[in-house]
C-alpha cells in the first residue's frame, strides 16, 4: 500500500542562477545574486536592493505554439513556467511541451498532477495607472460611472485594460499554464501560504502520489514581489527592511544575526515528484526521497494587524510542523543532518524560527542551508528553490557555502564542504501563521 515518493528533477530559478547546475555552483562558491533592482527604480521606496532573476526570456522557454500566451503571464507565472521546464528536462521526462528533439520518458498526462504555491500577484502599476488616471474624480476617487460606461467607441476607461487583463493576475494561472503546456490532467492545485506555500504544495503532491491519485507531480512554488506594490506590501508585512545606503549587497542579509535586514527576491522552484517504483522502472536518477511532511499553525501570527506576538521566541506552528514531519518520516530529531529554514534575515522572524527549530530538534549547533543571502526572500518561491538546493545537497553529499549566517546557536559563515546527509529538514513559517516542514532523505 505504501507508495514511496522521490524527487527526480529540480528546476530552481533565482537571483543566484537558473537551473540546477547554475544555482548549485553559485551557492557552493558563495556568490550572492543580490543587487540593485534593475527592472524599475525602487529607491523611492527605500528598497533598491533585491534578488532579481536576470535575463528570463519566457518566449524562448515555451513551445512555439504557446508564445502568444506569454502575453498574459505576470512575472510569477513566467517563473513557474520556466522552472517547470527546467525540472521536467532535469528529470529526463518528455511531455507534449518538450522540444521536438528532446529525449526521455514520455509522461502519462492523466496520471500527472500539479501543485504550485503562489502569492497574490500585483497588477502592473503602469498599465493600471494609465487606465484609471483618466477616470478619477476631483476628490481623487475612481469615477465609476465614467470608468464603466457601456458602448463600443464611447466606452469607459475600463476598456483601456486588455480583455484578458484579469487572467494575468489570477494566482491559479501558474498551475494552469504549467498543466496546459505539459498536458498534466491529474489533480491540480494552487496553494496560497506565503513562505510556507511551496512546502505545503510539495506536501500535497506527496499525498496525492501516496494515495494513488497520480504517479508524477509537478510541484513547488513561484512568486515575484519585485514590483512597486509587491515591495510595499512585503515591507508592511515586516518581510523586508530599509537597506542602509552604500551597503554591500552580499552582506545585508545575515540570517540569525541581529543586524540583518531582510531583502525581497523573486524565484521559482519546481520539482518533479515521482512514485519510486515507476521512477526506478524507467531508470530515473533520484535526488532524494520525500519521506516526511507536516503542517502547523501558530494562532498568534505576527502580522501587524493581528494580535501581536512582538517578542515571542517560538513559532509554535512551525515547531508542530517539524515534529509532524519527523513523525511522518519515522525518524528521530537526532537523525536530521541539516536544516534548510526560511531564514528571512529579519531578526524578529529569525528568532522565532530558530526557537522552533531548537525546540523541535532539541539541540543547538545544527548545520543550515540558508538561501536568503544569495537570493533574498522569495516568498512562495522560497520553499521550492530551497527544496531543490537541499535535494542537490543530498545527492552530492555536500553542503553549500553559508554566507553571513551567525548567531548564538547557528554555526557561522563558511565555505562549501562535504557532509554526510541522510536527512535534511526543509521548513518555514509564514506571515499568515501557516507553517510546513518536509524531510528529504537520501534515497536507499
Amino acid at each position: 500500500m505504501d507508495r514511496a515518493v522521490v524527487i527526480t528533477g529540480i528546476g530552481p530559478i533565482c537571483a543566484a542562477g537558473a537551473g540546477a547546475d547554475a544555482v548549485w555552483s553559485a551557492v557552493c562558491a558563495g556568490r550572492s545574486g543580490l543587487g540593485p533592482i534593475g527592472s524599475f527604480d525602487a529607491s523611492a521606496l527605500g528598497m533598491a536592493l533585491g534578488g532579481e532573476v536576470a535575463g528570463l526570456k519566457i518566449r524562448d522557454l515555451v513551445p512555439k505554439g504557446y508564445r502568444k500566451a506569454t502575453k498574459v503571464m505576470a512575472r510569477d507565472i513566467e517563473l513557474a513556467v520556466a522552472a517547470a521546464r527546467l525540472a521536467v528536462e532535469d528529470a529526463g521526462l518528455t511531455t507534449r511541451g518538450s522540444d521536438g528533439g528532446a529525449q526521455g520518458h514520455a509522461i502519462d498526462g492523466v496520471r500527472t498532477g500539479c501543485q504550485i504555491g503562489a502569492g497574490q500577484i500585483s497588477a502592473d502599476p503602469v498599465e493600471l495607472g494609465r487606465a484609471v488616471s483618466v477616470s478619477m474624480t476631483e476628490a481623487g476617487l475612481l469615477d465609476t460611472r465614467e470608468w464603466g460606461t457601456e458602448g463600443e467607441g464611447s466606452g469607459g476607461a475600463m476598456d483601456n485594460l486588455p480583455p484578458l487583463w484579469l487572467l494575468k493576475y489570477l494566482p491559479n494561472m501558474l498551475a494552469c499554464h504549467v498543466t496546459i503546456i505539459h498536458g498534466c490532467e491529474g489533480p491540480s492545485n494552487t496553494i496560497m501560504g506565503a513562505e510556507a506555500g511551496a512546502l505545503q504544495s510539495i506536501g500535497e503532491s506527496l499525498r496525492v502520489i501516496e494515495r494513488g491519485d497520480a504517479d508524477i507531480c509537478f510541484t513547488g512554488g513561484a512568486e515575484s514581489r519585485l514590483n512597486p506594490m509587491g515591495l510595499v506590501r512585503m515591507r508592511l508585512a515586516g518581510r523586508a527592511g530599509e537597506v542602509p545606503a552604500g551597503a554591500d549587497p552580499a552582506c545585508v542579509v545575515r540570517p540569525y544575526d541581529g543586524s540583518s535586514v531582510g531583502v525581497i527576491g523573486e524565484g521559482g522552484g519546481m520539482l518533479i515528484l515521482e512514485e519510486s517504483g515507476s521512477a526506478a522502472a524507467r531508470g530515473a536518477r533520484v535526488y532524494a526521497r520525500v519521506s516526511g511532511f507536516g503542517c502547523g499553525m501558530d494562532t498568534r501570527p505576527i502580522t501587524p494587524g493581528l494580535d501581536g506576538l512582538g517578542d515571542a521566541d517560538e513559532d509554535v506552528g512551525l515547531t508542530r510542523a517539524i515534529r509532524a514531519a519527523l513523525d511522518d518520516a519515522g525518524i528521530g530529531a537526532g537523525e536530521i543532518d541539516a536544516v534548510a529554514p526560511m531564514a528571512a534575515g529579519m531578526p524578529v522572524l529569525d528568532r522565532r524560527e530558530l526557537g522552533s527549530i531548537r525546540t523541535a530538534l532539541g539541540r543547538d549547533g545544527f548545520e543550515t542551508i540558508t538561501l536568503t543571502p544569495f537570493a533574498g526572500n522569495m516568498l512562495a518561491g522560497h520553499g521550492g528553490v530551497t527544496s531543490a538546493v537541499a535535494s542537490m545537497a543530498i545527492r552530492e553529499q555536500r553542503l553549500p557555502a553559508r554566507l553571513n549566517t551567525g548567531g548564538a546557536s547557528v554555526a557561522g559563515a563558511c565555505g562549501a564542504r562535504d557532509a554526510a546527509l541522510g536527512h535534511v529538514l526543509v521548513c518555514s513559517g509564514s506571515y499568515g501563521g501557516q507553517a510546513a516542514a518536509l524531510v528529504l532523505s537520501r534515497a536507499s
Binding site: 527604480d41 525602487a42 523611492a44 521606496l45 498532477g113 500539479c114 503562489a118 497574490q120 502599476p125 495607472g129 477616470s135 478619477m136 481623487g140 476617487l141 475612481l142 465609476t144 465614467e146 464603466g148 460606461t149 457601456e150 469607459g156 475600463m158 480583455p163 484578458l164 487583463w165 484579469l166 487572467l167 489570477l170 491559479n172 498551475a175 494552469c176 499554464h177 498543466t179 496546459i180 498536458g183 498534466c184 490532467e185 491529474g186 491540480s188 492545485n189 494552487t190 496553494i191 496560497m192 501560504g193 506594490m229 510595499v232 506590501r233 508592511l236 503542517c295 502547523g296 499553525m297 494562532t299 502580522t303 501587524p304 494587524g305 493581528l306 494580535d307 508542530r320 501563521g433 501557516q434
Partner: protein, 440 residues
Amino acid sequence: MSSGRVVITGVGWVTPLGCDVDPVWSRLVKGECSMGPLERYDASTWSTGFASQVSGFDLRDRIGDRAGRHERSSRSTRFALSACDDAWRMAGLDGSRPGSERVGVYLGAGEGEVDYSSYIRAHAEPFADNAFDLEAFARAVSRFDAASELEQEPQLTSTHLAVEFDARGPNLNCMTACAASTQAVGEATEIIRRGDADVMIAGGSHSMIHPLGMTGFMRLTAMSTRRDDPMHASRPFDVSRDGFVMGEGAGIVILEDLDHARRRGAAVLAELAGFGSTADAYRITDIHPDGKGGAGAMLGALEQAGIDPRGVDASGRPLVHWVNAHGTGTQENDKIESAAVRTVFGGLADRVPFTSIKSMLGHLIQAAGAVELIACVKAIETGVIPPTANLSEVDPVCGLDHVPNEARDLNDAGGVSVCVSNSFGFGGQNDSVCVRRFEG
C-alpha cells in the same frame, strides 16, 4: 486512528439570500432569486451594473462582540467567520472539541477586497504625462494601513478562523478560482482520512463585487449584461443565457472523522463519500470541448464513493439522485458540463436531476462550491431538490433533467440519498465531491 470515513457534522453559509441555513434553504426551494443593482458604487452606466449581493451584513449580528476584533478584516474573512461560527455551533463543538492540534482549516478563500479607493488612487496619482512617477507612488502608499493591506492576502481568512476557533492543525488555503472551495473540502477530507486531523473546518469565502473585480470579468465578457432585468439574468441551461451573475458569500462545513463524531455523540448530517480532481490542460480561456475534465472529476468522486454511475437500485432508479451543477449560465460551461454528465451517466443521464442554484444565488466564485455542497446536505435531509430558476426554454445542447422553476419533492420516490456537486475553475481545474446520506 482514522476510521477512513469522513462525515459532515456542521454547516454554515453567508449568501445573498441570507445567512441562516434553513431560511435560505426555504428560499432556494421556492426558487427565489437575489440579484439587484450594485449597491456599493455607482454602476448605473455599466453593462453589468448588477450582482447578487449580501446586503446589510453586520458581523456583530452574527458573532456578537467578537466581531470587534475584525473591523479591518476583509469582507471575505467576515463572511467566513459568520459561516464558521454557525457550522461550529451546529456541530456542537463548543462543548466537546478535540485538542487544538487535531483541528485544522482548509479553505478556498479568495483575496480580500480592502480599501480599493486608496489602491486605485495610488495608481492614478503617479501617472502623468504618460509616465509612472515612483516618488508619487511612494508618497501615496505611505498612507496605506499595514493591517488592511495584509488582509488582502487570501490565506488571512484561514488564519482568522484558526485564531477564532483555536485550530492549530493543518492550515491551508487554495486558490483554484471557481473550483476552490470544493477542492478545499476534498483535500480536507483526505487529511482526515489519513489521520492527520480529527476535525477540519473546510469551505470558502469570496467577494469580488468591487470595481476592479467586476471590471476583470466584464473585460472577459463572462458576465450577463441583462441589466434591465437582473433578477432573471442568471439563466443556466436556458437558450437565452448570456453569462454568469457575480455573487458573494461564504460556505463552511465541519468535516469530522466518523469515529470521532461517534465518540462525542455528534449528530451526523451526511457523509463526504468521494472527491475527484482533474485538470483540463487545454486553454486558459476555454473549457475542453468534450468535457473530459469535468467527467473525470465526477467519475473520480463516484469511484471513491463506490457508486456506479450507470447503476440503478431495486426500483430501477439511478443511484445518484442529484447533480448540483457548476452551472454558471455561460454558453460554454452549461453546454460542456451537460456533455460531461452524459459521459458519466450514459443512458441514465436524462433521469438524473441536474440543476444549478447559481440561477438564484449568482456565482459566489471561490465560495460557490461549499455553498452548493451545503445545498446537497439539505437536499439529503429534506428529500427536496431546488429548481433551476429562470429556465424558460431549455437549450437543446444541455437538454437534461434541469428541474425548471419548481422544486422537486422526491420523498415519495425514496428521498435524496446521493448527490454530486461540481465546481470547475477558470484555467481548467475541475473538482467534484460526492455526498451521501449517512448510514452507520
